[in-house]
Symmetry: C2
Subunit: 351 residues, 2 copies
DNA sequence: ACATTAAGAGCACTCTTTATC
DNA sequence: TGATAAAGAGTGCTCTTAATG
């Protein structure tokens, strides 16, 4: 037996390969491969010897070799945006978790900006990595539309929209209606709305829900103020809203803009919910600790992340996707930022 | 010329391989390889023919084949936690961006819990993917220590700590001192502290900074209240703080706990900053829109993300890392939540 | 003839070695 | 001889085909 060793012998740390396992187990590399892939034509006794050999050599299959020969990887791509917003972040986490549970690794790319070019580059990068599929977490309409052109890789959208791509999302319209109906049920004559940017998927949907709820109750529909999802924009929009007469109820497009609204109202000496009620959208964890705690619409981001991944796996495994657009129902969480109109006056112990 | 085609001829979409390029360009596969890898021994004329062929075939090198033969991948692993906290999320984004700029893909794994086992599995998963290196974004001490045992892959920690692993982080101690010194300079006799969980890297550092600042000014050091970074815990801790006499200044371990504190103070009828001043830590984007806008310590998460990646690349490329622990200086951002003690009484127009 | 196992041909590249102008 | 190009072995695995008991 001739063992050629490196002359000044730190132990050879080259990772074990299949041939090493085969040699140690006294079988051919083919048999080792079969054991790894669960092929039935292996005697139990043999399988155990192989398993033991793999164990003792700490053998790990080489993913590159495997990918090369099979032409497939266990790698999924995720395209997300460059924001720390609660929603996309939660979705990403859920997608990654589900993917790994299904035995896939996740390669992530953040878009530097919301252009078709950036999206194209991201998709290119991922296909260059030979990803088996792509999950897009991009609730931006124009950017998302560019995704239609990505070739040869199954794609799903989460928290986004696209006529042609399978999608998992929360029913924004329904959430908005719930928010507005809650306010109307409290007795408010109408509800003002700070909408998100019109080119984001959620914004027009929420706006439509707001409008429909108002019209269904035959209430006046005030003009929309528009923000960009940030607290800053919510603050500014509320300033404009305050210049109008008769504001008693405000539906903000998301929790962050609601936060800005709360500050603007506070600075203007307007008690919430005493004189103005505020509702948000998202139910980020901190929204329960705003001053006052925010009534808001809860979206289950983790759930749509999981659903999106399931949709992708359906495509990857060739199962016919039953329904290509999955939608989740949001729930209204009532907290301290909403009350009947004029509550301040009636209570008489505020301001 | 015999072209064997699939019988009912949708065009063959098999991606082009190097041999196809070589054939089209009329050179050998070796030459194509050289062009791809920037080898000098290729005539300009030849190089151009090859480039043109690659272009017209939309050729993309096969990463698996490449990884197989070179034994290296352009893949980096990131281990993060399962939270939507602003800090880790921002770091992750910056790391990914920097990695991609350096030509690396990023595979991410979120820890389901903060145990050594979960960490081990995550690291295992990543080494199984043959990552070239790992970035750990885990500011949890015990978990992080388990990382020392990961074999054979260069590792760096960002926003974490470890005696043995190269680290990029913000100087927490300094930030805490700045916060407390700001409060003392305003005239507060002492400063209460809501610390983060003791097993997280940042918490003891901030606590130490707080204590040292107080002691350096010969002030009494009140007992610490402890939270878990959430707004909820900040709210609860502030409740306990309010039971003590003489609270005028509060240094919360992070912005979220400060948010909870703000709510607790508001509900207790304590004006901020009129009767109590509050300082946070992190400077998340929304903190500027708390009620009132929060004075806080700004950490440049993106910067430490970039630095962490740079540290990793140094290891990967064999450059001797000059300094293995990189530290960034945070800056105090003063907003409306801090004022001299007794400001409410002096101003006389509040509550 | 059947359940197991082995042999060997790729897979798409890189890189060393050899040939050519 | 030196610049440029080609040949060919090797990378670790899967899978089809052939051999074995």
């Amino acid at each position: 037996m001739v063992d050629i060793e490196p002359p000044h012998g730190r132990p050879d740390v080259r990772p074990a390969v299949m041939a090493d396992v085969a040699r140690l187990a006294g079988v051919s590399h083919t048999t080792v491969s079969r054991v790894i892939n669960g092929h039935p034509a292996v005697r139990d006794h043999t399988r155990e010897r192989v398993l033991k050999a793999m164990e003792s050599l700490a053998y790990r299959p080489n993913v590159a070799a495997r990918a090369l020969v099979t032409g497939r990887t266990r790698l999924l791509g995720v395209i997300s945006m460059d924001t720390a917003f609660y929603g996309p972040v939660s979705v990403l986490t859920a997608v990654e978790r589900s993917a790994r549970d299904a035995g896939y690794a996740v390669s992530i790319v953040h878009l530097p900006d919301l252009t078709a070019r950036a999206l194209g580059e991201a998709a290119d990068f991922l296909t260059g990595q030979a990803v088996a599929g792509i999950v897009a977490i991009i609730p931006h309409i124009a950017t998302m539309n560019a995704l239609t052109h990505v070739p040869d890789v199954p794609i799903v959208a989460v928290e986004g929209c696209s006529g042609t791509i399978p999608t998992a999302a929360v029913d924004q319209y329904l959430g908005a209606r719930q928010a507005v109906e809650h306010l109307l049920a409290l007795g408010h004559e109408t509800v003002a709305h700070i909408a998100g940017p019109a080119d984001w998927y959620e914004a027009p949907e929420r706006e439509r829900g707001w409008r429909d709820a108002l019209e269904a109750a035959a209430r006046p529909v005030p003009p929309v103020e528009r923000g960009d999802w940030t607290a800053k924009s919510g603050y500014a929009a509320t300033g404009r809203l305050l210049a109008r007469p008769g504001l008693t109820a405000l539906f903000a497009g998301n929790d962050l803009m609601a936060l800005g609204a709360l500050l603007a109202l506070h600075e203007a000496g307007v008690p919430v919910p005493g004189e103005v009620s505020v509702v948000g959208f998202d139910d980020a964890p901190e929204s329960a600790y705003f001053t006052p705690p925010l009534t808001t619409v809860r979206q289950d981001f983790a759930e749509i992340g999981r659903q999106g991944l399931a949709l992708l796996l359906e495509q990857l495994e060739g199962r016919a996707p039953g329904h290509r657009h999955v939608s989740t129902v949001p729930t209204l969480t009532v907290r301290a930022s909403t009350a009947p109109p004029g509550a301040a006056a009636r209570e008489g112990r505020r301001a």
